[in-house]
Subunit: 396 residues, 2 copies
């Protein structure tokens, strides 16, 4: 039988991430597809005991000791907040769900970078968002297709200014200040997603734009998935005082509260001096992997694509050098058949037809000794596709 | 500044549960308010090691071994499903969020029992539900205010047929069969919430109504919060084949996947023969607490209220014997000042003015040796309120 569903369901696309990750986790696959930490960067959790308090229901805000730890961290990043303005969420994907419920309904204008994080697009779209493209470069000069007036009229501006997923771009200090001033002057609600901030490999400005705001409403979130472990499913958000009671009620309605066992394990980990050493080692290891990956990209992709070396985060963002853009989704099956997975660029764009032949390649998860095999395979498949594209252009 | 929010936020009420639980957890408070397991009924989790797989991202459906365990359990309850029709959720509150997103939009007719679980009302209301009252008794005889035709026109029927929260009622075998036939014949989407099923103290029919359906769409969910531990934040749902892909996408969009550490701990627990012993002991302990509570209710409340002894679940549902119904929310502060917390009945009704002076009293969590002190205090406060109500009725 056909069941009548809410109209929003017509807009819900399966995330390609889900399908690709299922394939990427098959034995023998070399995966550059996901954004997974390296297995050896994960903490060891041995011989732990779970206290009975962690087994009971808890506060929707999250456990107080963990919120205090987060508040202290946020203060060091320039936020004037205490633990009563911190909400522990079940991964930062849940933060996107809560903010979407708070703001987005049928026809709400949401300004986003394009490309942007695809699962944010998925959730905003579910609730009926209409998109306006935003580019930080448009604050200083004109960018084709981006009109700042449209951004000023949006109900929400979602950004990922530090090591963006997928492009790994990072805003300069000037860009951060200019954007904060614009948001304050124009009363734009800023939603800043900052999960990659601790994965920096060069020095750069990482001050949250939200920490510079003085008047407008804002939500800032980050995650423990990239620095500690995704399986904990824990992230946190803070926000302007006017929004906190609403987000807290939405959190309660969504799942009562986040997992207390994870919260307890996390608090133990972050208070362990060895754990900050683990993060330093992960950063060093990821930096080395990034550099190895770059050398191999030069070896195999110099004639095929352009890219920037990421200053932080987990991804290379390649732009193919074809006379006309290739839909990289069409290359995926061949790549998987050859034992290598990547993430096509199209789903990261408001309108996938705006994509210009991009691939997102993760360098943190696959073992470094498999990089060359994976990139060699991938370059062969792409070389064929590029050649076919060139040939078809030359035909009358 | 005033931030423009989505219109649905006008409908989001803070759940009174949240506020009351915060008070109820204060030191020294005797709490009959929440639905918490007894601390000594919780499992002991000592010296566990968390494998690295549990620290990584996982499947949105949940871990396969846990889904297999759940599917086997569901088959024993009469469901014709395997693990590919099981979705692990972050507590059954999340199941309500997912089903609400799937079905409920502005003006959607949702049939619910009244009283019913208040956090389901909270979530359906957020998405714009209009309510139609449903009573299982209306299937066999007329019930004032309940018209079966309205129920047949609803998009969704939400029920809690086994040890309902708050009233602890349980459907008879005939009622279950009659309702299943009605839903099949009229193609009503049935959403059955079954978190208390394992907490039975007398024999009674507990077969899920959804397991008897043959044609219509349905969602069935249960929880590990009441039988293992709420802090795990794990529940599960199964549904008709047509709905599963939608609910899976919604789950992914909501929080990617549920906590893997909890899933791993849970699987170890449910496969431990000692754990089924723990559940048997919890059941025996709750039965004894239920009986002690009943004796004390007779001692202190015989002149003040009526109630049924619950066959299962965690609650007594009292109806005060006043000439006009008392708003029990107005008694709460006095009770808290006297060191005892309870749950007022009003928030469980579609329209709180329909409440007839009810209190929901939990008997599982407070230590049995504090029952008398708590109930004596509460009866004094209620006796005064009843006397005031009687006096005001006698005034000209």
């Amino acid at each position: 039988m056909t069941q009548k569903l809410a109209r929003r369901m017509d807009r819900l696309q399966a995330s390609p991430v889900r399908d690709i990750l299922a394939v990427a986790s098959q034995p023998g696959m070399i995966s550059f597809a996901g954004g997974l930490p390296a297995t050896d960067a994960l903490p060891s959790i041995d011989s732990v005991s779970i206290d009975s308090a962690s087994l009971q229901y808890g506060a929707s805000e999250g456990d107080q000791a963990l919120r205090k730890y987060v508040a202290n961290d946020l203060q060091q990043r320039g936020f004037d907040v205490d633990e009563n303005r911190v909400l522990i969420v079940s991964g930062s994907q849940q933060g996107i769900d809560l903010v979407a419920k708070l703001i987005v309904e049928q026809g709400t204008c949401v300004a986003v970078e394009s490309p942007t994080y695809l699962a944010a697009l998925q959730m905003f779209t579910l609730f009926g968002a209409q998109y306006v493209p935003f580019s930080i470069d448009a604050l200083q000069s004109e960018v084709p297709g981006v009109t700042l007036e449209d951004v000023l009229d949006s109900e929400l501006l979602y950004i990922n200014p530090t090591f963006q997923n997928p492009s790994s771009t990072v805003y300069t200090s000037t860009q951060r200040r200019t954007l904060a001033t614009l948001c304050d002057d124009e009363e734009i609600l800023l939603f800043e997603d900052d999960p990659y901030r601790e994965l920096y490999y060069e020095s750069c400005d990482r001050q949250p734009v939200c920490s510079m705001l003085r008047r407008t409403s804002w939500v800032y979130q980050s995650s423990f998935s990239k620095t500690i472990a995704p399986g904990l499913r824990l992230g946190y958000l803070t926000c302007s005082a006017n929004l906190y009671p609403h987000l807290l009620k939405l959190k309660q309605a969504a799942d009562l509260h986040s997992n207390r066992i994870s919260q307890s394990l996390l608090l133990t980990l972050v208070n362990d001096p060895l754990d900050s050493l683990r993060l330093q080692e992960a950063r060093a290891s990821y930096r080395a992997k990034r550099d190895s990956f770059n050398s191999l990209l030069h070896q195999y992709f110099d004639s095929l694509a352009t890219w920037e070396v990421p200053v932080g985060g987990l991804f290379y963002w390649l732009t193919l050098k074809t006379p006309v853009p290739i839909d990289t989704r069409l290359l995926l099956q061949d790549a998987i058949d050859a034992g290598v997975a990547f993430m096509p660029g199209e789903p990261f764009f408001i309108d996938s037809t705006q994509a210009k032949g991009h691939l997102r390649l993760n360098f943190s998860h696959a073992p470094v000794e498999l990089f060359e095999q994976g990139l060699a395979q991938l370059s062969s498949i792409i070389a064929i596709a590029c050649q076919q594209a060139a040939d078809s252009c030359q035909k009358p």
